[in-house]
């Protein structure tokens, strides 16, 4: 190991596809190493003979590098530091860059001496599902003792607990053909389709196009396979109609040809200060899709098959051929198929010492390997070497010293994306693996190894041929290509899963420490369906989602049940294919940009005048305007209320929903959507409207003005503007399509201001242009008009009042809103005008007893609100019939009334429930609740609105307001909800 620190890369035996001129230095567990440009973290660690890289989940067994791809179960590290820390990162797919920092995870004390490894010695007490059988006594101990210990021991890496410092982006791509995987079949298909002119997207997880082509010593079209891959990729990149996405994993197949893909843009760059997004989450809309995702090799179950140095045979080839790394000094190959022999061949070719090749088959050796010990019909029984493999023991008892065991258990096609919808893979005995089933996602075809065509030649021709079929079907272009040519290597296999002669634990799922014993136990205890097996043993539930272990587990089951593998069935593959950072799925929708902000036209004015803002849906509204010397919001609100009631106040009510309704049948339409009648409303008049849902509960309310015979302007509450519009469109298009009615939102078109108070008219008379007359006689309460203000600006004026004062609402085209607010305030000075916010608005509407959001909560009826008589009995309307249901019209239904504290010093709180003072505090005795409260500067008292059973007949009664979550309980008296000007003289004055 001392060589490692010096950066000699002592296991480097060639340069493979690396750039030997560009050394890259990095750190692992605080020690410095050197690799080469083009290395992964895993290959660089192997080059430096760092074989111990992590610990397993449950038993904390020492683990090394097992694979060369995203299926890696063992070599998980914490990457980066500070806020950039990234737990559970696979060393096998982490592109090496200058200054990379990685740490092993899930151990206490140094990696080589993990105190948690005690679990390994206690393993017989920690068998599958043991925790369901204990930790139950004493009862209180679970949260206090057992669970904290378990939680601390479980988990893998840890988060930095800081905000993710990177930015992320999303995007939408459209293609005639999406090709998943740039291996032999994918490249062949892309070349064919691209040359024919189709819009093609080809995506691959790797930072190099080629897949296995880069890992093998084979030839395509007479050149080395890796060279062919590079050349093909270059040609594809040069085509304007082709988009090559490397470092991009297509993680999910969704309905109707929509795919999710994650492109890693900056992860491999040393400079983390980049302004550009770290990753882009693409949503790809593809007419056709070719899945060329390749295959994943699997292991064989034998005792202690999890030690550092035990590696998949295909991965051994990858490290030698692509990364120029010798995986060991003395290698043994253990195989059940011909592919394992190619590893042996490459090892000897590379001059790595090959101790023996053990083949479970009793056939004759598929190839000659001069000077290599060949054991046909042999088995590896167990292995030795705590922190790294030292030897393997064969079935005949002899022990072979070695530091690397290459295991070839056969290849499993990567069928995952075919299963993301309904597809169920089917077993193909010939290759002893599951292949895609018949039910593929819409528009998807599978090619190459993913389709079970394991040979190179068949992968290339299958990719080409399928692309030709798609071109012909698309009618877009013509095929001009022929299939690339390559030799067809032998892939014969005789299924062999489990060395039954092994005594010790034989690992199936390396990361979750699931062994053949656990599977036997779960079977014994009755957990026999594959789903029960998975859930009881946690097989395949680790970060690799069982890529290397599922099939092995499914194959061991039948040996117990006597069933066949296909009858045993398989668990379902779910997205994502590889784990996706949560931040990437969120994209830009973070912090202040989580959702858009809506501003009213006079937002800037409010900001300049002490406005304090509150979120109302997407809107920002001024809730009050703080003046010099005001230290508490109540001071501001009281001032605004008093000044409005004394003189005149102005409030921005632009956020109210406005719907322009026109058509010959507009009036009749309103009669059907409102509980009360509008056809009788005269032009130039406004009416309060109550809208019900079809179930008879109140949906929304607002005022609607008749601007002409066939022209109405409806206002909705701010909260319901969108849902009411949708509802009206439903009525118009689906229920009464014969009506001549047209809807368009005018919410954004008009800046609207409430002008309320005794001086309101006086103020407006100086604003409205001649000859318009707004005297009480010509422009009484509930009148409206289209006119002009401030010398020619078109405007609409409505005489309506939410505050209970003499009040108007004045609307101008939005672009004049800011200017109007300034002008009104300036012109209003002489009338002692004040700007008031939503809080003062709320105080005044409560003083007046008007219902708002807290009362119109979707659970209340017109009767509850004291508006029962508004529901016309003369006509049908939405909600009329079901509003008559008995339980909604009982004797002691809740009704909206007012409340005042018995002790004037007591301030009321919304959310308090009402009970009789002597009643026991139970659900049965609950009589209602307080909906809205305010401090009334007019009455110098806290006042409230609320619902209480049979309220309108109980005025004057004293009851208890029960508010335990605020530690309060106090007497209140039921009063009229109209605290101010009950007879409404002011608003008519």
């Amino acid at each position: 190991m001392n060589t490692a620190t010096t950066g000699l890369q002592s296991a480097r035996i060639g340069t493979g596809l690396l750039d030997s001129t560009r050394p890259v230095s990095f750190q692992f567990n605080g020690r410095s190493y050197t690799g080469l440009q083009g290395d992964t973290l895993a290959s660089a660690l192997l080059a430096n003979e760092q074989r111990l890289v992590g610990r397993s989940f449950k038993y904390h067994r020492p683990r090394g590098i097992f694979s060369a791809g995203s299926e890696e179960p063992n070599a998980l590290v914490e990457l980066g530091s500070g806020a950039y820390r990234e737990p559970n990162t696979r060393a096998t797919v982490t592109e090496l860059f200058e200054g990379l920092e990685a740490r092993s995870q899930n151990h206490r004390g140094p990696l080589s001496f993990d105190v948690m490894a005690i679990n390994d010695h206690l393993s017989s007490f920690l068998s599958a599902g043991f925790y369901y059988k204990t930790f139950m006594w004493p009862k209180a101990f679970w949260e206090k003792v057992y669970e904290p210990v378990i939680r601390a021991a479980a988990g893998l890496g840890s988060l930095s607990m800081q905000e993710d410092p990177d930015t992320y982006d999303k995007g939408f791509l459209h293609a005639d053909l999406l090709i998943v995987g740039a291996g032999p079949s994918g490249l062949a298909a892309a070349l064919t389709a691209g040359r024919a002119g189709l819009r093609v997207i080809i995506a691959d997880d790797d930072f190099l196009a080629g897949g296995r082509l880069n890992a093998e010593q084979m030839e395509v079209d007479g050149m080395p396979s890796a060279q062919w891959a590079a050349r093909s990729h270059a040609e594809l990149c040069s085509m304007p109609n082709v988009r090559c996405l490397l470092r991009t994993s297509v993680y999910g197949a969704f309905d109707h040809g929509i795919y999710g893909a994650l492109q890693r843009c900056t992860d491999h760059l040393p400079d983390k200060s980049s302004e550009k997004p770290r990753q882009i989450l693409w949503r790809i809309y593809a007419r056709q899709t070719l899945l060329g995702a390749g295959a994943t090799e699997r292991s064989i179950a034998f005792a202690n098959n999890d030690r550092p140095g035990i590696m998949l045979a295909g991965a051994v080839r990858t490290y030698m051929n692509r990364f120029g790394v010798a995986p060991g000094k003395e290698v043994v190959v253990f195989t059940n198929n011909d592919d394992g022999w190619r590893t042996a061949a490459d090892l000897t070719r590379a001059g790595v010492s090959l101790a023996a090749i053990i083949d479970t088959r009793t056939t004759s050796a598929p190839m000659k390997l001069p000077g290599v010990r060949i054991v046909m019909g042999g088995q590896v029984i167990t292995t030795r070497g705590r922190l790294g493999l030292r030897s393997v023991t064969l079935h005949d008892g002899q022990t072979l010293p070695c530091d690397c065991l290459a295991v070839a258990g056969g290849w499993s096609p990567n069928v995952h994306l075919t299963c993301h919808q309904r597809g169920r893979p089917v077993w193909r005995q010939g290759i002893a693996a599951f292949v895609p089933g018949a039910e593929l996602p819409q528009g998807m075809r599978v090619i190459g190894a993913a389709n079970g065509s394991l040979g190179l030649s068949s992968a290339l021709t299958e990719g080409h041929r399928t692309a030709v079929r798609i071109i012909e079907a698309s009618g877009i272009g013509k095929n001009t290509s022929s299939s690339p040519v390559a030799e067809q290597e032998s892939t014969r296999i005789t299924a062999f899963w489990h060395v039954s002669a092994s005594r010790g634990r034989a690992w199936i799922d390396l990361q979750n420490d699931v062994t053949t014993k656990d599977i036997a136990l779960s079977f014994k205890e009755g957990f026999r369906s594959v789903e029960h097996l998975k859930r009881y043993t946690t097989l395949g539930m680790a970060t690799d989602q069982g890529k290397t272990s599922n099939v092995l587990g499914l194959a061991v089951m039948p040996q117990l049940s006597g069933k066949t593998i296909q009858d045993t069935g398989t668990t379902i593959f779910r997205p994502p294919y590889t784990p996706i950072p949560i931040a990437a799925l969120a994209g830009r929708s973070r912090g202040k940009h989580f959702r858009p902000v809506r501003h009213t036209p006079s937002h800037q004015w409010a900001q300049d005048n002490g406005g304090d803002f509150v979120e109302t849906g997407m809107w920002l509204r001024a809730q009050w305007y703080t003046r010099e010397g005001e230290t508490h919001w109540r001071q501001s609100v009281d001032r605004e209320v008093l000044q409005t009631r004394r003189a005149v106040g102005i409030c921005d009510v632009t956020t109210l929903g406005k719907i322009d309704i026109q058509g010959k049948d507009a009036a009749a339409f309103l009669d059907r959507v409102y509980a009360n009648t509008f056809s009788t409303l005269a032009v130039g008049k406004v009416r309060y409207g109550l809208m019900l849902r079809e179930d008879g509960f109140v949906m929304d309310d607002g005022t609607t003005a008749r601007l002409g015979d066939t022209h109405f302007l409806m206002t909705t509450t701010t909260a319901n503007a969108v849902s009411v519009f949708r509802h009206l469109e439903f009525c118009r298009q689906c229920l009464w399509p014969e009506m001549d009615v047209h809807l368009i939102s005018a919410t954004e078109q008009w800046a609207q201001y409430a002008i309320a108070g005794p001086q309101a008219r006086a103020l407006l008379e100086g604003v409205v242009d001649a000859p318009f007359d707004i005297s009480n006689e010509t422009f009484p309460f509930m009148a409206c008009a289209e006119l002009t203000v401030f010398n020619g600006t078109p405007a609409r004026l409505f005489r309506i009042s939410f505050s209970g004062e003499l009040a108007y609402e004045l609307a101008v085209p939005t672009r004049y809103g800011h200017s109007l607010m300034e002008a009104l305030m300036q012109h209003g000075k002489q009338f002692d005008v004040v700007a008031y916010g939503t809080e003062a608005l709320g105080v005044m509407r409560i003083e007046k007893g008007h219902a708002a959001g807290n009362e119109l909560n979707g659970q209340t009826t017109a009767a509850n609100l004291g508006l029962g008589r508004m529901v016309s009995t003369k006509k049908d309307c939405i909600g009329a019939v079901l509003s008559k249901r008995p339980a909604m019209n009982t004797e002691n239904a809740i009704q909206l009334v007012g409340f005042m504290p018995e002790d004037s010093a007591q301030s009321l709180r919304a959310g308090a429930h009402f009970l009789s003072e002597d009643a026991e505090e139970t659900t049965a005795n609950d009589q209602g609740w307080m909906t809205s409260v305010a401090w009334s500067p007019v009455l110098n008292s806290s006042i409230g609105l609320g619902f209480i059973t049979n309220g309108s007949n109980r005025q004057g009664e004293r009851i208890k307001a029960y508010d335990p979550v605020r530690g309060e309980s106090y007497p209140v008296r039921i009063v009229s909800p109209h605290f101010v000007d009950p007879d409404g003289e002011r608003l008519r004055g």
Partner: protein, 421 residues
């Protein structure tokens, strides 16, 4: 007749460990169906198994079969986000869920099975005065029903969850409603525990047995036809979340239910991060952390009728946006697996435990996405109804005819539109 079952304990685990774990026996039998049962429960999910357990253990009715078309626990109890709480608002709901909470608190001792019920609390965040008042109303309603609730201000939330975004949030956190006794439980283990409990008292759990029809004799339900033959019964109790519409259609019934897909998500395993359960209503997001270390989270239903146990991308992204908006420190944690469950969404968001218009046929369903936490009380009250013929007092509001009478239980005030509940 009762069957002897081995008792689980630390000692047992120790003894078996020393003797090579050879002595363990199946957690439940695999019996052949008999020709007749006093009660047939259709559906071997959490609620069905719990019903069987309480029929046997509380009401002494042991001649019971649970018929499951697949493997037990294969429905929503096998695919939920494991949250247990009783923080409801309405009198029709809260006492029922509080009963459930009390049953949860004694579940492990009752079942001799560790379902890892973990009372680490749930907090619902609020962002405005109106939301605060609505939660105060709810918290007080919970107290009236004997549940626990704490209304926290921003400082209280900071103390509980220092890792949330307090500086830069689009919807600033003003506080939250906390229920300390709420938490999570190991969902599969709940099904297995109830199955083992019921089996040990003589209940036959019959897997891979799909009910294909009800046998009706002059209007009375007297049994079922199944893929394993006709089985007669005194009472037939349907309990098939996700298939309610299909199964009740066999009895000629239309239900106030739509089936929708709800997605859920789990991250790679991580060292402890999230203390309890956190819900961020404004961002359609809730999250907890499993004992294995995975962040378990979810949000709204996709919103369209579906019987496919999978959803689509817009919801996935919407949920993760909510997560990043409220706790940007989970950004570099990776989403490991997403899946979907079929929710029987009712017209007011509340469930049904009731007799049907067919004598002898009972119905339990419409749990929306709230079925897991209800499992014990659902079983308890359903068993009570089946055994006594009378609704349990805490479930009396869960009637099928409530839309006719207008006595709806609409927590959200969304009206008769299932995908809004």
């Amino acid at each position: 007749m009762p069957v002897s079952t081995m008792r689980y304990s630390a000692l047992k685990v120790l003894k078996e460990g020393l003797t090579g774990n050879r002595g363990w026996r199946p957690a439940w039998r695999e019996p052949e169906p008999r020709t007749h049962y006093d009660v047939i429960i259709v559906g071997g999910g959490g609620h069905g198994l719990a019903t069987a357990h309480y029929l046997a253990s509380v009401h002494g009715i042991t001649n019971v079969a649970v018929l499951e078309k697949g493997w037990i626990g294969s429905g929503n109890i096998g695919r939920n986000t494991t949250i247990v709480r009783s923080n409801y608002l309405l009198p029709g709901n809260e006492p029922f869920y509080e009963l459930s909470m009390k049953l949860w608190e004694n579940l492990e001792q009752d079942l001799n099975y560790n379902a890892m019920m973990s009372q680490r609390g749930i907090v619902n965040l609020f962002h405005s005065d109106a939301q605060r008042d609505a939660y105060a109303r709810r918290g007080n309603a919970m107290r009236l029903a004997g549940a626990d609730s704490v209304l926290l201000d921003e400082a209280g939330i900071r103390e509980l969850c220092p890792f949330l975004d307090y500086e830069n949030a689009r919807f600033p956190i003003k506080g939250g409603l906390l229920q300390p006794r709420a938490g999570t439980a190991r969902h599969d283990a709940v099904a297995w525990g109830y199955a083992r409990g019921a089996d040990s008292r003589g209940v036959d759990i019959i897997q891979n047995c799909e009910v294909t029809g009800f046998t009706l004799e002059n209007g009375v339900c007297t049994g079922v036809d199944s893929t394993r033959g006709r089985i007669s019964a005194g009472k037939v109790a349907v309990c098939v979340a996700g298939s309610s519409g299909r199964v009740m259609a066999m009895a000629g019934m239309r239900l106030p239910i739509e089936s929708h897909v709800l997605q859920a998500f789990v991250s790679e395993g991580l060292k402890p991060v999230i203390p309890g359960v956190i819900t961020f209503g404004a961002g359609h997001f809730y999250i907890s952390q499993s004992d294995k270390g995975g962040l378990v989270f979810g949000g709204d239903i996709d919103g369209y009728n579906s019987y496919a146990q999978r959803g689509n991308l817009p919801t996935v992204e919407d949920v993760c946006e909510g997560g990043m908006a409220i706790m940007p420190m989970i950004g570099r944690a990776r989403l490991l697996r997403m899946w979907g469950g079929i929710m029987d969404m009712s017209m007011d968001g509340s469930p049904f435990i009731d007799k049907t218009s067919v004598p002898g046929l009972y119905f339990n369903g419409g749990w929306c996405y709230g079925g897991f936490k209800a499992t014990p009380a659902s079983g308890w009250c359903y068993a009570h109804l089946i055994a006594t013929g009378q609704p349990h007092e805490t479930a009396a509001a869960y009637r099928l005819d409530r839309f006719m009478s207008g006595a709806v239980i609409d927590e959200r005030g969304a009206g008769a539109q299932p995908n809004l509940h």
